[in-house]
Symmetry: C2
Subunit: 75 residues, 2 copies
């Protein structure tokens, strides 16, 4: 098996938590020793197991912030 | 091979586009005929191929909006 190294560089915050204890979190994560990226992902309660997610750049987050602030159903 | 049915219910917006033409988009997507969910994902230029991504609930998006509006590096 291959292994992926990751380091949780900065916890930004938790979006929501499911009844199973898994939570969707926005963090800064370094993958395989590379420069940290923003990362939106499901995490197990102990923070050791990760689910599906995506990495995001600073530009992605800026654009996402603008989109969310324009979305009427979030008001 | 198994197949996953998806329907792009509503385009909300594009975050960023890479030099290869793939773009990170926030959309509402219905998976296998179920109720549509918010979906943050990479899409190929033709919109036919999809990359990694995650589905998000309305509560996820509300919490994400609050987090992003508090994040100083996005100002």
């Amino acid at each position: 098996m291959s292994s992926i190294q990751f380091e949780l560089v900065k916890k930004i915050g938790t979006l929501t938590e499911s009844s199973s204890g898994w939570s969707k979190q926005l963090n800064m994560v370094s993958w395989n020793g590379r420069a940290p990226k923003y990362d939106l992902r499901d995490w197990a309660p102990d923070g050791e197991k990760m689910g599906k997610g995506i990495t995001l750049s600073l530009d992605d987050l800026k654009a996402l912030k603008t989109l969310l602030n324009q979305l009427e159903e979030l008001d």
